[in-house]
Amino acid sequence: MDSSFLIKLEDVVIGYDKRGLLDSIDLSIQNGQFWGIVGPNGGGKTTLLKTILGLIPPVKGKVQYGKNHPLIFGYVPQRENFDHIFPISVAEFVAMGRYIRIPVGRGIKKEDWKVITECLEKVEIPDLRNRPFRSLSGGEKQRTLLAHSLAGEPDILILDEPTASMDIKGETAIMELIGKIKERDNLTVLMVSHFLNIVAKFADHVVMIDKDDEFFSSGTIEEVFSGETLSRVFGLNVTVEQVTDKIRIHAGARGSDKKT
């Protein structure tokens, strides 16, 4: 039996309320890998992510976790998920990411605050700790979310659209920071993104999913990101160019009546 995996989906059907979105899928995520999850809007990316996280049960099959089970997930949700009526400070927000290691009914101890401070330093925002989360800029919020996900000392980092609505400078800064933390802490990363070039640049493996087209493919970037499959999934004329050791994706004119 292969025991080197961190997460494994074997003959799993994902979906909601006993309704499968796709035929059964197989996926094996190893320790230290950086996976991207891409696909069109409504293609099933979030369903796959939530199934992996154990937030929704698979319609068929079982998600297996490796020898580290129970896995500690560091989850970076989308910035828009939070209600700004809450006057939560940056430190309080990051502390919530630590709650995976603090049982219900127990308060935050001194050693927890030490880890929280370290996380703020890792994402280079120690001076923002007392600022209200709602008053931060998009980039600062993203760094806070990243610190929140690291506070639980996770085995795997799950990022949901970490660069959504960011300018190119903020996007590059946050992705480079994620890459740096991944290397330093030898983390496994799973990132949902709409930005194919970001995924191609930073991830080493990718899942491409589109439930409407009954399409699921996983593997290395080079295996999955071909002009033909990208054109099929996104309904555009997509070309893939090799630039040194990375690939670059160019979207052309609309190829068919598919959503994007």
Binding site: L55, F73, P77, D83, I85, P87, Y99, G105, I108, S135
Partner: protein, 286 residues
Amino acid sequence: MDTSSFGEFIRSYFLWRDPMIVGAVSGAICGFLGVYVVLRRIVFVGAMLSQVSSFGVALAFYLQGFSALSLFQSLIDPFALSLVMTGAAALFFALNRVFFRISQEGVIGFGYLLASGIVVIIADRITHEAHDIADILFGSAVVVDPKEVYIVPAVAIVAILIHWIFFKDFIFVSFDPETARLFKYPVRILNTVLLLTVGVVIAVTTRALGALPVFALAVLPPLTALFLTERLTLVFIFSIMIGILSAVFGYFFSFVLSLPTGASITTCASLFFLLGTGWQGIRRLV
């Protein structure tokens, strides 16, 4: 109001001491729990629960009129029945998503309207207790039942104790339920306990003060506190203080100006809210 009315107020402390204690404690605990109600954007849950509590009291008065039920007199005590009804409503609200999946607003609207409709029908049937029912709805009672001087603080202490233990958890499931579920926190249980504490406190304070001031104390102090500070712990502290001040000033003006008590408390809480908006306006300008 002149100095002689203030002197008369001080001299009559034996008249207002008990209602003032009950009012201040109610203001503190409603102000505290109201922060959750406001932050979770379910302000009308306070109105619904206080109305359901009134419904329980009115129903008890109505049932007491049936001689066939005389054997069960102790069971149809207004306080006990309002507590049971409010607890059941809070439970229904907390578990609605599991069984019925009705929108939160839908459940609040349904509960409020059903309770209000039945209270009016019962009030029409038991005309001799209509004054008592009006007191419960609008909080016109200047005096309180001596038992309430003990019941209200006791319930408040239990509620504070529960919230002391689970403070971080209640905030977590209110702010970020998705991550709480991912972390295997018992989100449903915590939400139910939180809403039950709100329900029980509202039932007890509604019996003492009336539905209108209780709704006001559960909504206006937290809203005002949110104008004053950006820190969560301070929001709770300010809300408790504004709740106490609203109740105390409300009783004071009710006493010296012969105003209906519930309306006076509600007006005081509203004035604090207006001051809070003014303060926020000044801060933005500066």
